[in-house]
Amino acid sequence: CSTIKDIPDLKALYSANQISSFALHGKIAFITAQERQSSNLYWQQKNERYELNLTTFLGIQLAEVVGTPNHLFVSADGKTYQSNSPEQLIEETIGWPVPISHLQNWIKGVHNGVIINRHDNKQAKEVLVRTSSTEEWTLNYLSYKKYGNIYLPTKIKCQSYGLTVILQINEWENINQ
């Protein structure tokens, strides 16, 4: 991936692939047949390191997830957990099997999936992504907003088997800063 010195800032970007750091305020929801959970979301990403803060409408922290590709720290309900396998730990601690290593790209509209259809503005709408030999996700990019000369997603539905993860991004910030 790009080294520090040649990271273009927002105005010079022509593709979301060039985004190596960002912050966003929004909401995240997890929907299964049995339950629907949602929380406000503050996501900070610096290269491969991500920090997610999940908070209730009252401002009370539900969980904090800090991770890099091979290490994860989760704090929830006053307890803290560490692991080297992000996806498995997240499911155990906050009960949501979130493909966090994929989400950090999907959230920018970056994926290696098959685009099924597009919006009028040419941005991908429905995308099929195979994340393992046994797992496939359908990504629905419901809306975008233009930042500089690139489009960034503002609402995404990610579905796999019985789980739907919905991401709403109210505000993108600090892109490549």
Binding site: E35, N53, T55, F57, G59, I60, Q61, N170
Partner: protein, 189 residues
């Protein structure tokens, strides 16, 4: 000489009802802004209120006096609880009931002339303490919630007005489940 807790209860009992707009700012333990939102609140003691947060983080928390409803349009779901179950777990709802027995779960202090601090005795409560500040003419000026992860949620109130039940329509505090929304009923019968 009145104890601090009697002073707070007296102040609260003088506000039989109020309506206000609010701006909320949430800072995490590193003082980063995690969330900003705004909305409005109407509250009538002892058990009716409507706490609406506006888009993009919209949600609605309201009580008809019997049950407390929380509607989250993001997942199109309403959750309903018995009013009694919620009062003990949420110190803000204590503002509704100056003489509720739930007060014993909290230590009341007065860090400064206009500010009261309500600290949960139970470690299980996700809220460590709330601070509430009153203006000279007894309006609620601001309210801060501190949680166990050292995150602070600060509510600044504006357009504070004293109100009474007759100011509101009969149905005002009655929750209507929106078309197509799911209901998660948490009321243990």
């Amino acid at each position: 000489e009145q104890t601090v807790s009697q002073q707070l209860k007296e102040k609260l009992s003088e506000i039989a009802g109020f309506s206000a707009q609010f701006k909320q700012k949430v800072l995490d333990s590193k003082k980063q802004v995690v969330q900003l939102s705004e909305g409005n609140i109407e509250l009538i003691q002892p058990n009716k209120f409507r706490w609406e947060t506006l888009p993009p983080n919209d949600s609605l928390l309201m009580s008809d006096g019997v049950s407390v409803w929380f509607y989250d349009p993001f997942v199109e779901q309403a959750t309903v609880y018995n009013f009694a179950d919620t009062v003990n777990s949420n110190p803000i709802l204590l503002l509704l009931q100056p003489d509720a027995s739930a007060w014993q779960e909290y230590i009341i202090e007065k860090p400064s002339a206009s500010v009261f601090k309500v600290t949960s005795k139970s470690q299980r409560n996700q809220i460590e303490y709330i601070e509430i500040s009153f203006t000279q003419d007894n309006a609620v000026e601001w309210l801060t919630i501190k949680d166990r992860q050292q995150q602070t949620s600060h509510y600044q109130f504006f357009q504070f007005k004293q109100t009474q039940l007759s100011d509101f329509g009969k149905e005002y505090f009655v929750f209507k489940l929106p078309e197509g929304a799911d209901l998660d009923d948490q009321r243990q019968q």
